[in-house]
């Protein structure tokens, strides 16, 4: 059993970075921690690796309490965001590093390294030095060095975030299919939500002090516990509109400021939002739930409002339109083949049943 257990972990310098964090990563589980940079994701990995010592708390792998063990006695392997390849050693020696530490015999090392190199498609580079290979190749070398170690816990720190989109897709594929990772607990850290959603068996969203929400990809994306979670997942970021709820006749309406922006709350939501303080809420609308209608197109089940285009930009697989809808900036996602003029009037269809409602003060999701 090589499950990773973290209990009440605390670490801080000038201010608390990790505050009483509990987490269990099961054997064979691929757990992704996602959060903005500087929030303490790397610190978490370094604590588990033993490169920092915690102020309080326990770290257990399997039955072994490793809290006070030095890093070289812990059954963990880690990739560094900056790769940390040994510049004076060849790619082969870099990958073989941990095997040499175990004093494995030369023939076995050659077999193992060659195997891993083939898997990662870097077998042609084994004689080169890290200074002579590209970023993607460095990344794979670092991954290879980690994989051959046969640890009980893998710690991967932003292993593919700084690479080209194409290589990123390829490495994502590889990470998903690596058998080695499927047999142990893996903790993977990234700031890229797409990577997290795509790779994680479970995902932990990290905010100040610790994990704010843990769940499956659909859980954290579709049922964010707080506005922070909703804002961090998704690109372009969710439209967060300061608003109030108003009863207008039989229906409940969302109204923002003195502007004309507003839409009816769907019945299911209205039931949950009834009562409570409704003067200050934040409405979250994901850009993909705002549809820019073509001429003459209508959208049944959507609430249609008028607006005009502020900015249009192509962003990877999608187009992004920033619109002004009655004094509120709404970002919408479109397909790439469309084009818009500055200040062009448009009709926007809101998928009102996919809207989130957050408490403006605490940020918590009012629908949960």
């Amino acid at each position: 059993m090589a499950r990773l257990q973290i209990e009440g972990l605390c670490k801080g310098w000038d201010f608390p970075v990790i505050d009483r964090l509990d987490l269990t990563v099961e054997e064979g589980e691929f757990f992704v921690v996602v959060g903005p940079s500087g929030i303490g994701k790397t610190t978490l990995l370094r604590l588990i690796a033993g490169l920092e010592s915690p102020n309080a708390g326990r770290i257990v792998i399997g039955d072994l309490d490793i809290t006070t063990l030095p890093p070289y006695q812990r059954p963990v392997a880690m990739t560094f965001e900056s790769y940390a390849l040994y510049p004076h050693l060849s790619v082969f020696e870099n990958i073989a590093s941990s095997l040499r530490a175990q004093r494995m015999d030369a023939a076995a090392i050659r077999t193992t390294v060659t195997e891993v190199a083939k898997l990662l498609r870097i077998e042609a580079l084994l004689d080169r030095r890290p200074g002579e290979i590209s970023g993607g190749q460095k990344q794979r070398t670092a991954l290879g060095r980690t994989l051959v170690a046969k640890p009980q816990t893998f710690l991967l720190d932003e292993p593919i975030s700084h690479l080209d989109a194409k290589i990123r897709h390829e490495l994502r594929q590889q990470l998903r299919s690596l058998e080695e990772l499927r047999q142990v607990a893996t903790l993977y850290v990234t700031h890229d939500y797409a990577e997290a959603l795509s790779l994680g068996d479970r995902i932990g969203v990290m905010g100040r002090g610790g994990l704010i929400q843990i769940g499956s990809a659909r859980d954290v994306f579709m049922r964010p516990r707080t506005l922070f979670v909703a804002e961090h997942l998704g690109q372009p970021a969710i439209n967060a509109v300061a608003a109030r709820l108003a009863d207008e006749g039989a229906d409940m309406y969302v109204r923002a400021g003195n502007s004309g922006f507003g839409f009816p709350v769907v019945a299911a939501h209205a039931a949950m939002l009834a009562g409570g303080d409704r003067a200050q809420i934040t409405v979250g609308i994901r850009p993909q739930h705002v549809k820019v209608l073509r001429n003459g197109e209508d959208a049944p089940g959507h609430h249609v409002i008028e607006g005009h285009v502020e900015i249009y930009e192509a962003l990877g697989a999608n187009g992004v339109v920033v619109t002004d809808a009655g004094g509120v900036n709404l970002t919408a996602l479109t397909s790439l083949d469309r084009d818009f003029e500055h200040r062009q009037p448009v009709r926007l269809a809101l998928q009102t049943d996919a809207v989130f409602y957050f408490d403006s003060e605490t940020g918590s999701n009012l629908l949960l």
Partner: protein, 322 residues
Amino acid sequence: MSIAEMSNAETPDWFVHKKTSDNLIVARWVPIALVGLPVLVLFAIVIYPTIWMFYHSFQDTNMMRLFQGNWSFVGFDNFAAVLSSERFGDSIVHLAQYLLFGCVLQVILGTVLALSLYELVHKEWLRVLLLIAMVLPMMLPPSIVGVLWKFLLTPSNGAINQALLNLGLIREPVEWFNAGVSLWSIIIADVWNWTALPLLIIYSGRVSLPPAVYEAARVDGAKGWLVMRRITLPMLKEVIAIAFIVRFMDAFKFVDLVYVMTSGGPAQSSELPAYIAFQRGIREFAIGEAAAYAIIIFAISAVLITLFLKYLKKVLKAQGIA
């Protein structure tokens, strides 16, 4: 969320009581083992001289008494004798002169030369050749440097006087080893001998400054003296300080050239404190007094270096480096 907001939030208990400690990622004994051996070795070497020196600085030890074993405690007499003597006072003035015109000048010269070499000589091979040529004096033993310069400066038939005469710069030979001049002669020889070291250190520092910063400066439109004053020199601040410390430490115990060139003369006019200690201890066997000298010199140098290191650290902290 900003840090300011965080501090408003409730500060958890563990954080208030947390210990401020290094991040120890190796077993606790490792640093001690690493530092243990060198410290033990050095300690073993210097513990005896240190105690011996302190002990005898309070005794009236001289050679005869040392062998007879009948020295006696005299309190602070040795220190009093040293501090009140005119000889010591003069030697401190000499030391100041030497530090200013020897040590400081060496670092300034080294800086000017190293940077001129780097900035003005563009052919790589020529630069290396000139560097090697300018570093050569450092490869000579100070004792030989003393002998060589004494020979060069011999008033009657020395090469320097002859060269100056030939060039018409002087009409009659300069008496290089007269009172008032002899210390300058020592300083000239020392500058010749040791400017190479700061030069080498600062040149190395300049070579490893990031070229991208200079490209940025070019694009920003800065050049020449402005780049030197605003970018190069500030970036080399620490390197220059290190070069200075290296020279400064050796300056206090500087004896060789005085010993070889002038023996402190004529009439003690080129004596430095360390040389007097040497002279009193080794030549005249006034060991108690020599020990007192040594302690005073050591104390002055230690205080000055400490202050300097403190200042350096502050500068580095301000730059976010240390």
